[in-house]
Every structure is written in structure tokens, then in C-alpha cells.
């Protein structure tokens, strides 16, 4: 088995070293592709501190590495951005040390408007999501700015239009910050100018504007592209000084327009929107001044008139006092006379009255007055009765409302009073009873001395019918009766009128009251016999 190359039969192709082949390739590729245009989508982009930009260009099946040297980066019209479809111009080189090849990009352009617009939309959506276009961020510029900062190209129609329009409306202090309004430096310079104006201190050598205008004339989308760059949009959104953007024509909308506080359709319009017309303002102020004077005049005149009216209504002090003073004088004069007259009349009347004042007159007056009093007195009595009834009713009602405790106390008090009263009553009753007893005894004594029984003792008798019924007062009455009864002072004796001999009388009875009374009345009439007579028969 041959160990060297020579052993391979028939292989007479020349031999390359690695370097030879690598550099041969390099020479061939760089010769063949010294100037190419490549269309592709930008892939990964890296920008190391060296300032060179490394990126990938790709399509569906292949990737080629690309580099943009630092010196070229600044000249690019489009900043390389991932996802952007571009057409690059450059040359191919190889790197023999690493078996690599790449395209060195010398210029780059978006692959048509569509690609650019697609990227713009993506960026817009992203910045919007960050809130950079929020209406809440917008600030209103002052009505009359003292200093206006204009960020634009110092030459050209735009600054001229702005300055002319400002002069027409309101000559004012303008500070121009010159920038490139297109090309590779545009975005950076505009962003730097916005931040630069904002960074100016108040009262520094460069006056700090109180409003900014960022302006540029019309152009292609690529021309205006700088105003779509993120650094510009961010600077505009962050500006503390109110900012008006006027970039391109009315139909061109760049992202700075969305971030600005006000978007003006044209640079001229920006000047108009920012500064009022001095003449108009002067007229406004003059009008206000006139209205001020007029209003104050009217106010004073009105008040003056009212004061005058009131003053006229107010009488003079002398006028006010004249009448009362006059009356006082007259009254004073009349007073003395009147007093004298009055005293005279009183004296006369006194004399007359003294004459008429007699006793009879007084009596009559009294009688009259008494008569007059009678009716009221009667009414008074009725009223009192009614009052009493009412009071009783009320007391019943009150009684219902009485509280037990209160009532108990009352009752106890009542009890006590009752006991006292009862004791006093008992005492009094005893003494009264004693008196009544004595009186009764004396009356009884009188009665006894006057009663018919006493008469019996003196010899009179009472004749009664059978059984002691009825008092017999005549012979005629006595005759038909089978028996009679004679009452003596010491008892009754039954007798038989026919036989003349009376039967043995029953035990004497206590006389019935009726009989006694009847008897007591009758005897004086029926008793004819004189004292000492034992019987009527």
C-alpha cells in the first residue's frame, strides 16, 4: 500500500496549498463580484463599538453575511433594521483565515415603497404602544411666545416662509437651530436640536424658547425618512417645550407629526398657529380697556344716581324739626291755660256734686248695684257648679292617670287624716251621745209627767174591747160586747158587762204600743170621771 501521493496512479492534477486555493478563490470571487446588487431581507443586525455594522441578508433558502464599514454607515439613507427588505449595492469578499465570504455593503435602499411603509407601520405601532402619541402628553403653546425656536435648514424656502409669516403677524425673537433636513445626518441632528433647546437654561446666553417649530418642505418618503426615525420621535415626545411639527406637505404624515404637540400642515401654518396677529391682540386689549372704563363708569354713575335719589328722599334736619318745634311751642302756651280752665271746671263740678251727695242717693245706688250684681252672681254660681262638675270629671280622669305610688302616699296621708278625724269624731260622738242621753232623760221625764199612764195612776182607766182590742169610748159601744177589759195603771182587768161580776182577769199584760198610744190619745176625751174613780161602770 503506497503511503505517499505518488502511489495514486493517474492523478497528475496540480496541487494547491490551502492558502493558494483560498487566495485563488478570493481573487476569483472578488474579481467576479466586485459590484453586485443584492435584494434580501435584513436579518440579525449587530453594531459593535467599532462603529461597523454587521448584518445578515436572507431569503427563503440562503443567508449571506454582510458588513457596512463605519465610514459607510453615516452615508446610508436608510438605517439597517431587522425585517426591512432592502436592495444593497456592494462587493463580495472572502476571509481566507476563516473560510468565510461576505458582502461589503456600500449603499442600501429599501426594496420599494411597500417595504418602507411596512416597516413604518411596525415602528408606529410600537411607539404608539409605548404611549408616545398619547393626547395626554400634548402641551398647548403659550398664547404669545417670547422666543420661538425653529429647527430646520437655515437656507431655503422653509425658514424664509416662517420668518416672513412671523414678521407679518407679530415681530418676535426667533432662534434658529440649523439641521440637515434629509440624508444620513437628519435624524440625529433634529433629535439633538430638540434636546438641545430643551437643555437650555432659563436666562442663559442663548434664550430658551417657549415654543418650537420643527419644519421641512415636501419631499419623497425617503427624503422625509429622518423624521420617522425613532430618536427624532422620542425627542419630540419628550420635549418639555411645546413643539409644532410641520414636515412635508399636508398629505405626508411622519412619525414626528404624531409625537408633536401640534401638527401644522405647512411651515407657514406653523407660524400662524404659534403666534397671534399683534394688531388683533392690540385691538382686543384696547377693547377690553374701553369695556373696563365703561363698566366702571356705569357702575359709578349708577351708584351716584342711587345716592342722589336717596339723598333727595332724605329731608333736611330743620324741615324735620320745624313742625314738632312749632307744635311744642303751641302746646306749651296752651298747657297753662288748659290747666287753669281744668282746675276751674273741677272746682265747679265738685261743688255741684257735693250738694247732691245725700244718704238716700247712696242707698239707692247701693240697691241698684246689688240688683245689677244679682245676675252675675247667679251666673257665677252656675259657672262654679259647672266648674265643679268639670273638676270632678277631671279629677276622675286625673285619677286614672295617677301613679300608684303617689296615690299610696296620698292614701296613707288620707288614712292618717281619717284616723285623726275618726278619733275626733268618736270623741265628739261620745260627748254628743252623752248630751243626747241627758236630753233624752229630761225629755222622758217630761213625757212621763205628761203621758196618759200617769193619768191612770191618778184614777182614770181605759176601757177596751174583747182581747184588749179597740178603746171603747161610749156606753152604746160597750153594750153589745160580750166582754170588756179595763186598764188600770197597774194592769188589766177583764169584765163581763151583763153579769156585773167580772171574771178573774188574766195576768196583766204589757200594753201594746198601739193600744197605749190609742189609749193615750183617747182618755182625755173619754175620761169623764174625776180623780179617784175606780171604774166607769
Amino acid at each position: 500500500m503506497p503511503l505517499t501521493d505518488d502511489t495514486f496512479a493517474g492523478t497528475n492534477a496540480p496541487e494547491f496549498t490551502v492558502s493558494e486555493i483560498s487566495f485563488a478563490l478570493k481573487k476569483m470571487i472578488e474579481g467576479e463580484f466586485a459590484h453586485v446588487r443584492i435584494r434580501g431581507e435584513i436579518g440579525r443586525v449587530s453594531t459593535p463599538r467599532s462603529g461597523h455594522v454587521y448584518l445578515d441578508l436572507k431569503d427563503e433558502r440562503a443567508v449571506i453575511a454582510g458588513v457596512i464599514w463605519k465610514g459607510t454607515v453615516r452615508k446610508l439613507r436608510v438605517r439597517p433594521e431587522e425585517g426591512l427588505e432592502v436592495v444593497v449595492t456592494g462587493r463580495l469578499t472572502t476571509y481566507p483565515g476563516a473560510s468565510k465570504y461576505q458582502v461589503v455593503i456600500e449603499s442600501m435602499a429599501p426594496a420599494g415603497i411597500g417595504a418602507l411603509m411596512a416597516m413604518l407601520e411596525r415602528r408606529k405601532a410600537q411607539l404608539k404602544a409605548e404611549g408616545l402619541f398619547d393626547p395626554a402628553r400634548k402641551r398647548r403653546p403659550p398664547l404669545l411666545p417670547k422666543v420661538v425656536g425653529v429647527i430646520t435648514s437655515p437656507s431655503g424656502a422653509v425658514i424664509r416662509d416662517i420668518l416672513h409669516r412671523l414678521r407679518d403677524r407679530f415681530p418676535i425673537r426667533v432662534v434658529i437651530w440649523p439641521v440637515a433636513v434629509q440624508g444620513e445626518h437628519c435624524a440625529l441632528e433634529v433629535a439633538r436640536a430638540i434636546r438641545g433647546f430643551n437643555a437650555l437654561p432659563e436666562g442663559g446666553p442663548v434664550p430658551r424658547p417657549d415654543a418650537l417649530i420643527v419644519a421641512r418642505g415636501g419631499g419623497s418618503i425617503e427624503d422625509l425618512w429622518g423624521f420617522n426615525e425613532e430618536i427624532v420621535v422620542r425627542a419630540a415626545a419628550e420635549s418639555a417645550i411645546p413643539l409644532i411639527s410641520a414636515v412635508g406637505h399636508e398629505t405626508d404624515t411622519t412619525l414626528i407629526d404624531l409625537a408633536a404637540d401640534i401638527r401644522a400642515p405647512t411651515p407657514t401654518a406653523a407660524a400662524e398657529m404659534l403666534v397671534p396677529v399683534r394688531r388683533e391682540l392690540l385691538a382686543d386689549v384696547a377693547t377690553l380697556g374701553e369695556r373696563l372704563v365703561h363698566a366702571a363708569d356705569r357702575l359709578l354713575a349708577e351708584r351716584g344716581r342711587r345716592l342722589g335719589d336717596l339723598a333727595r328722599l332724605l329731608p333736611r334736619a330743620d324741615d324735620l324739626l320745624a313742625r314738632p318745634r312749632h307744635r311744642l311751642d303751641r302746646a306749651e302756651a296752651r298747657l297753662v291755660r288748659a290747666l287753669e280752665a281744668r282746675a276751674g271746671r273741677a272746682r265747679t263740678r265738685h261743688a255741684a256734686l257735693a250738694g247732691r251727695m245725700t244718704l238716700r242717693l247712696l242707698e239707692r245706688t247701693i240697691a241698684l248695684k246689688r240688683e245689677r250684681l244679682a245676675a252675675p252672681v247667679q251666673r257665677l254660681e252656675v259657672a262654679i257648679r259647672r266648674k265643679r262638675t268639670d273638676a270632678r270629671r277631671r279629677s276622675i280622669e286625673t285619677g286614672r292617670r295617677l301613679r300608684p305610688a303617689l296615690a299610696r302616699r296620698q292614701i296613707e296621708k288620707g288614712h292618717h287624716a281619717l284616723e285623726t278625724a275618726a278619733r275626733r269624731l268618736a270623741l265628739q260622738a261620745r260627748s254628743q251621745l252623752r248630751q243626747l242621753g241627758q236630753r233624752l232623760e229630761s225629755l222622758d221625764r217630761m213625757r212621763q209627767s205628761l203621758g196618759w199612764r200617769e193619768t191612770l195612776a191618778r184614777g182614770y182607766a181605759v176601757i177596751r174591747g174583747p182581747g184588749g182590742e179597740g178603746v171603747i169610748t161610749s156606753k152604746g159601744a160597750a153594750l153589745p160586747l160580750p166582754r170588756l177589759e179595763i186598764e188600770f195603771h197597774d194592769g188589766r182587768l177583764p169584765v163581763l158587762p151583763d153579769q156585773g161580776t167580772p171574771r178573774k182577769a188574766p195576768a196583766p199584760r204589757e200594753g201594746s204600743h198601739r193600744a197605749s198610744q190609742g189609749g193615750a190619745r183617747k182618755p182625755p176625751r173619754s175620761s169623764k170621771p174625776p180623780e179617784g174613780q175606780g171604774s166607769l161602770f
Binding site: L144, R160, L163, V174, E189, G196, V206, L292, A295, L299
Partner: protein
């Protein structure tokens, strides 16, 4: 009334002064201000008006261009003519 009413007129911006002047005039025109107050308002209004006019008249055209160094930092001002 307004937030500026207590501040010296000289400190007010044109816009503030104008706004307060409008309010002063409206109040006086309504006529429901006490006399003392109306005198004070009138005087204040007069001052405000003078201040506004001064601000309007003192304004003067002046166009300046910022000069920048190589790094784009402002170095000074250069007065220019309106082209």
C-alpha cells in the same frame, strides 16, 4: 376669582394678564360688585391692560442663528437678516 389675582401684574405672562383682564371686565360689567371692590377691580384692570399693551409693543423682531461646534453643541448666536 382667578389664580393670578393675587400676583403682581409685572410677574404675569401676557396670556395670564389678558385672561385676568377679561375676567375683571366681565365682573365689572355684571355690576354686582361692591363699590370698594369695583374700584380695586378697575385699578387692577387698568394695570393689566397697560401690562398687556407693553408686552405687545415691546416685542421686536430679532432673528438669531445658533452656531454649533463639530459635535453639534451650541456655541453661540449669530444675528441674521430675514432672507
Amino acid at each position: 376669582m382667578t389664580e393670578t389675582a393675587e400676583r403682581p401684574v409685572g410677574e404675569l405672562s401676557f396670556e395670564e394678564a389678558l385672561k385676568e383682564l377679561e375676567q375683571v371686565v366681565e365682573r365689572l360689567e355684571r355690576g354686582d360688585v361692591p363699590l370698594e371692590e369695583s374700584i380695586r377691580l378697575y385699578e387692577r384692570g387698568h394695570e393689566l391692560k397697560k401690562h398687556c399693551e407693553a408686552r405687545l409693543r415691546e416685542a421686536e423682531e430679532k432673528i438669531e442663528l445658533i452656531t454649533l461646534d463639530a459635535e453639534g453643541r451650541p456655541t453661540g448666536l449669530k444675528e441674521v437678516e430675514v432672507p
